[in-house]
Symmetry: C2
Subunit: 266 residues, 2 copies
């Protein structure tokens, strides 16, 4: 594998889809991001994207995260996957239009989880794709699980696992906010962006949060930063950046100055 030169880029579901509108892509963001990725010239690159309004509503309706409970969930499991595949096709096609050698890879065919954690990734297709210079594009997916039957696997966990296993140089997490804040910037005018953290500070931050409201790290952002601990501890440089703002992802991929939260070994 390309080892230290590899970048793994996450495109958040809230960036590439329209929140609260089921199965609605954010086409202008998708086209813009494809151009930014192409213009950056960043290679080798793996892209992992989230589900947003494609994956989550169907997965929730059929309670897929709870695992296999009854046969009525099976159609929902398959429909959630199909919705993610359709979103993935839009991303891959936008990248292909920019001349990038993007290639869709299906997490539910590449790996199996145990109690919701990735147990094993079938790396051969990924390694062959890299050797030829392809840009694999994966996504949060429904997956088979040795204990639960099946479950939902977040793009964040895939990102973290791939970056760690493949010894990536850096992870760039594109979200719909500027990064981690000391408080919720929407309700607290004193909230400040945390521009830099060491891996140890990240762990302390997560420990400290508990039920407190002192740091704006709840819900999906909490899940995201939890997944970042292992790659951060393994020396992968991490940057959380606002992918809704034009050219932020471009600058991040170029390694240029950009507003965001860095998690870097001190």
């Amino acid at each position: 594998m390309r080892g230290k030169s590899l970048t793994v880029l996450k495109l958040g579901g809230s960036v590439i889809t329209v929140k609260d509108k089921t199965l609605t892509p954010n086409n202008s963001a998708i086209r813009r991001l494809a151009k930014e990725i192409a213009n950056s010239g960043c290679s080798p690159l793996i892209i992992v994207h989230g589900g947003g309004s494609f994956g989550h509503p169907i997965a929730a309706e059929y309670r897929i995260t709870e695992g296999f409970k009854d046969e009525n969930q099976m159609v929902g499991f398959s429909k959630t996957h199909n919705a993610m595949v359709k979103l993935n096709m839009l991303i891959v096609e936008a990248l292909l239009e920019e001349g990038l050698p993007a290639f869709s890879m299906a997490p539910s065919s590449l790996l199996v989880t145990r109690s919701g954690r990735i147990q094993h990734i079938y790396r051969d297709p990924l390694e062959q794709a890299f050797k030829l210079g392809f840009m694999p594009v994966l996504y949060g997916d429904v997956v088979f699980d040795y204990n639960m039957g099946f479950t939902v696997l977040s793009g964040d966990q895939i990102l973290s696992k791939l970056a760690t296993e493949l010894g990536a140089e850096r992870i760039i997490v594109g979200v719909d906010v500027d990064g981690l804040y000391t408080a919720d910037p929407k309700i607290n005018p004193e909230a400040q962006l945390i521009t830099c953290l060491t891996p140890n500070e990240l762990v302390n931050l997560i420990d400290k949060i508990g039920g407190s409201k002192s740091v704006d790290v709840t819900g999906s952002m909490m899940g995201k930063i939890r997944e970042l601990i292992v790659p951060a501890m393994n020396g992968v440089n991490i940057l959380i950046v606002n992918a809704l703002k034009p050219n932020y992802i471009y600058s991040a991929l170029r390694g240029e100055e950009v507003i965001g939260t860095r998690i870097i070994r001190g």
Copy 2:
């Protein structure tokens, strides 16, 4: 795995797409076949479908079967896969509409070939899918290859490999003709359907054909029956049947009398 009770069903690309019309599904055939599969009650079942007018034109344009020669092919490799995924989504959705627990699985993520032959299948997701009672739906795909970089993998080879590895009871091959003939029925009025063959007779038939026109086994049908030798020799019962004729696939799945070519150990 379910072993001896497993059926592996091939739906030919010429059945589920409109020949000579690029990217055109045969929607009425797809809907009818989904109903026939549902009505048959056949389980466990794996479905593998071909590419027809979805996969072949793009794969040919970019010379994917020749392997990786230059970077210009990469976009074509990805586009061929995307076209197959779109056809696969139509098949899976038609099956889901009939209430069947169909689930799409991506050959390019599940396996790698060596010089065009399947080297290894990552069986864990397939095995987990079976345990839960899913109906995996695979397809002819572009795949990564250890020697050639990449190539095209026929649905027929996937069918044969899965049936052999999983110890299937039977293979049903749905095509656009009634089976194997002693001559081309379109030009030779004396042509007769071969209703039954042993595995050894199948091998002799293939050996005999060479350049002769005595048996209507050319092009894709030749590729198909070549792939059937290994499972036939391993005791898998094979039936080649016309999937364009209503209820032929239904009867075949039910194990009822139907016109076709059987390959069965004597």
